[in-house]
Symmetry: D2
């Protein structure tokens, strides 16, 4: 099984005064990849709100910022679900560079993000809808 | 009449790879100042949603980025309402530096922002609630 | 001549409490499109800093926020240069929706952004490098 | 010893489509508080770059997002250094609400952020300048 990967380009908006990607922005890149991973499996989050009244909230995140990312670099963000429970899943993610020759380069950032399925109004935990759970557990 | 002014400090999050404040962030600074200007006049926007079902949307903005802002600088953001209509108001705003000695320095950015009062659900224009209109027009 | 267009997807990071795209983020979308338009014409901005010591700064922007953008929508951001001078260019840009059937939908935001070529250190205006100027003026 | 605390107000820019603070923004709030904590102890980061050629980089972060923050709420962000080493320090931080009556409310987010002192150009670890180290270790 290969992890899902989503390409991200580093723009000016992502960088800071230190000339590198501002650390908090890796959380944005990781969420984009999770959103596209779900979409790839047929799960649209706006449809989920309407059909099931649930959204996915980030409950915790352990992030390691290993190497600096710089303006204009191409990145790949991976998504690998682990520890799936009734209402939560832990996603392991890596952000790595894509080199000029198209090969994968260094890992810039590694994260472990816990997502909880919650009621869109009360924000209380709710079991994943069955089709979502099936897609998360599937390891095609 | 003196314009309302709100202090803003430039943090890493606000800067980009060019070593200066990322241009889009001046719109954030200006909105913070408008929010505090309303609060100073007793208008809390979260209360307005509940009491009148309206929110304030930005309809247009003309921005001039005159000089670079840099990490750690102190800024003052001014708010001056002009052209108040039934459901809209144009706010003239300036972002200027505060020098070491506490005096006002160069203007970094100047903006003219048109705010429209809209229904929180349909997002269609709605007249300002009477107390908001009075506060906006007041030139204490 | 057809305008250059760049696809953007609306993620959680782009939205606000009003359930729509936060207005300042349209400036980010427009800059992404300008960066990709330059790339499409062989102009890489990180290479420009090293070869010519110049960067592109946003000098002013006139933005009209016409309709709300919402989470998960697909957008297209257009780039059309006008008024090219020695050290500046005005870029007309539109952000429009892409409908489910793939056709172009409403324009959400329209902007006119003035870019100035500046020295990367002093931030003073400098003429565009010749190859950049040629590409900007070219209307393939 | 009392922890340093820095007030933060939640603006529209900080919220997302779910009606709550976007998770990545807590990292921004925490960095603002660390910057002000250093300033409170006489350490200005822009001066440090010039005098010692060092900047502070975030090496890792463990974040727990406990309760939702909402538009217009007042927050307090605490800073407590632990595990200070030659070139790194772990900072324990909490983001808690300030209630209407001015008392401290629930903790919304808890984080443990590892900061490394690095060379501003090479980004390699460098020992903290002596005065910075003294201030970090001091528990007034």
């Amino acid at each position: 099984m290969d992890d899902f990967r989503w390409p991200v380009r580093i723009y000016y908006e992502d960088t800071d005064n230190g000339g590198v990607v501002y650390h908090a922005n890796y959380l944005k890149f990781m969420e984009r990849a999770r959103t596209e991973w779900l979409r790839d499996r047929g799960v649209e989050q706006d449809a989920l709100i309407e059909s099931h009244g649930v959204i996915f909230a980030v409950a915790s995140a352990q992030m390691d910022f290993l190497r600096p990312g710089r303006f204009n670099q191409r990145l790949l963000v991976s998504v690998r679900p682990t520890l799936t429970r009734r209402a939560s899943v832990v996603i392991e993610q890596e952000v790595c560079r894509v080199l000029e020759n198209g090969e994968e380069g260094d890992v810039l950032c590694r994260g472990s993000v816990k997502i909880v399925c919650v009621d869109a109004v009360s924000l209380r935990p709710r079991p994943f809808p069955e089709n979502v759970r099936r897609e998360i557990l599937s390891d095609r």
